[in-house]
């Protein structure tokens, strides 16, 4: 592939839409693909991500310049690791304003790093406007609507048009409530498949979890592929 690594920003201006779960899944997905993966937790207070991924999570902040430098300078470092940002709703606006101002996506592309924004869709007008604003400001990033079926089956596709040709959406399939409780209890790890057995989960539940995980990983592989495709198209168009 022409890009060396990727940065995926899991974002929404709304709280409690499953961003941290998706960030965990993405981090474990990259690990399962034998890639180094680092997760950046931009949630004030709880730091849930670190409870699940203690060895791979970096607590980050964009509230002051030191925090901004620690985050963005590391994101564009050419260390070949896949980077995942769990962007808390309270840092959403500041993060994207700054990213736009400093030319984050352009810098990343210059360093052969692909940027994808996984936007957790909800039907409210705030999210719809925020999505539109991202489309306008970050034309060179892949903007991907994320449909979290754990929140319900509504798709809102008309409100969240996919970005450009070869665009993709990511679906997070629904999961039985019992299993949701299991995966939401630290230190559960998707990367460690023996974890389900270790916590005394019945075999059929374990199988269902693995099936669910495979479906999601398939979505992530598709996303990876689309990123590569978009990058190739862009390279041809811009001659870079």
């Amino acid at each position: 592939m022409s890009f060396r690594s990727s940065i995926t920003i899991v974002a929404s201006p709304r709280p409690r839409v499953g961003k941290t779960l998706v960030a965990r899944l993405l981090t474990d997905f990259h690990s399962s693909e034998n890639r180094a993966a680092i997760a950046f937790d931009l949630n004030a207070g709880e730091r849930t991500l670190a409870q699940f991924l203690p060895g791979q999570t970096v607590a980050a902040s964009v509230r002051d310049v030191n925090g901004q430098m620690a985050l963005f300078d590391r994101l564009v470092t050419g260390d070949d690791a896949a980077k995942i940002i769990d962007l808390g709703h309270d840092s959403y606006e500041l993060f994207f304003t700054l990213a736009h101002q400093i030319g984050f996506v352009e810098e990343a592309r210059q360093r052969s790093i692909a940027v994808a924004i996984l936007f957790a869709v909800t039907p409210d007008q705030t999210s719809v406007s925020a999505y539109r604003s991202l489309r306008e400001r970050f034309g060179r990033a892949m903007l991907v609507p994320l449909h979290n079926e754990l929140l319900g089956s509504a798709q809102h596709r008309d409100k969240y048009p996919a970005n450009g040709s070869g665009a993709v959406t990511v679906r997070l399939p629904a999961l039985a409530p019992g299993l949701r409780k299991l995966i939401d209890t630290p230190p559960f790890s998707f990367a460690n498949s023996s974890m389900a057995n270790a916590t005394g989960v019945p075999l059929d539940a374990h199988i269902e979890l693995q099936r669910w995980l495979r479906r999601i990983y398939l979505e992530f592989r598709e996303l990876d592929l689309r990123l590569l495709l978009a990058d190739l198209r862009s390279s041809i168009r811009f001659g870079s």
Binding site: V65, M69, F72, D73, V76, I102, G103, E107
Partner: protein, 252 residues
């Protein structure tokens, strides 16, 4: 051949950011491929020279020999634009000297393009300074620069008072230099490179540097806004009407 242009950057008070504005001007003309030279009047050691050593000469603007060095070479120098960073307290006397040597008269006749960038300070004294400068500046292109780069809080002046001074200068235009993040500003100072080099991650000799991407981003965004102000007053057209280029492309 285009007529030479002289831009005087000054204020009667120190610490209002004259040199910062002079630096942005040099970068701006550089981005527009307009050959530029600069004179730093902070003799014997000039701050401007530290950032633009190849383009800058330190002079004593009150000495006749240095005045000759600047003004007698206007027609023969390769650089079309001459930027003079006037030391604090010397703006009025420099303008007076320019009157005496007939420079302002030449500008009036259209033989030379002359512009004054008057950097405003935080106190009411600055307003009196405008009135004083207006008296001698005549038909020069006059730009009043409100410099917020160091987050100066001086624009709490009564707008009516300010406007009454502002209107004394025929055709005066206002330029606002926005605030730049302190740490970003500091890092450019430490690096001692032009703003454009900092944005391009280059050291003093053009070598690759390792400045923070975030700070470079802050400087790029700020410089783009400053240049936007220069575009607004059509600065390139003023000094070099034929040159056209996309300044932001160069910056990025």
């Amino acid at each position: 051949m285009a007529r030479p242009a002289v831009i005087l950057v000054g204020a009667d008070k120190g610490g209002v950011g004259k040199t910062t504005v002079a630096r942005t001007l040099i970068d701006y003309f550089g981005a527009h491929q307009t050959p530029t030279r600069a004179f730093d009047t902070e003799a014997p050691r000039g701050t401007l020279k530290r950032f633009h050593p190849d383009l800058t000469e330190v002079v004593d603007v009150t000495s006749v020999s240095d005045q000759m060095k600047i003004f007698d070479t206007l027609g023969s120098a390769d650089a079309k634009v001459t930027v003079i960073d006037v030391r604090a307290g010397l703006l009025s006397s420099t303008l007076q000297a320019l009157t005496e040597i007939g420079f302002l008269e030449s500008a009036k006749k259209g033989q030379i393009t002359f512009a004054v960038f008057h950097i405003l300070g935080p106190s009411i004294a600055s307003l009196e300074e405008i009135a004083e400068t207006a008296r001698v500046v005549g038909d020069a292109n006059y730009f009043l620069v409100k410099n917020f780069v160091n987050n100066t809080t001086f624009f709490e002046w009564d707008p009516a008072t300010y406007n009454s001074y502002f209107k004394r200068i025929k055709g005066a235009e206002e330029i606002t230099i926005p605030k730049l993040n302190e740490m970003a500003y500091e890092q450019v100072e430490v690096a001692s490179v032009p703003f454009v080099s900092f944005v391009g991650n280059k050291g003093p000799k053009g070598e690759a540097a390792n400045y923070s991407f975030v700070l470079r981003g802050y400087v790029r965004h700020w410089l783009g806004n400053v240049w936007g102000e220069f575009d607004k007053v059509k600065l390139v057209d003023l000094v070099s009407p034929k040159v056209q280029s996309n300044v932001r492309q160069v910056a990025s």
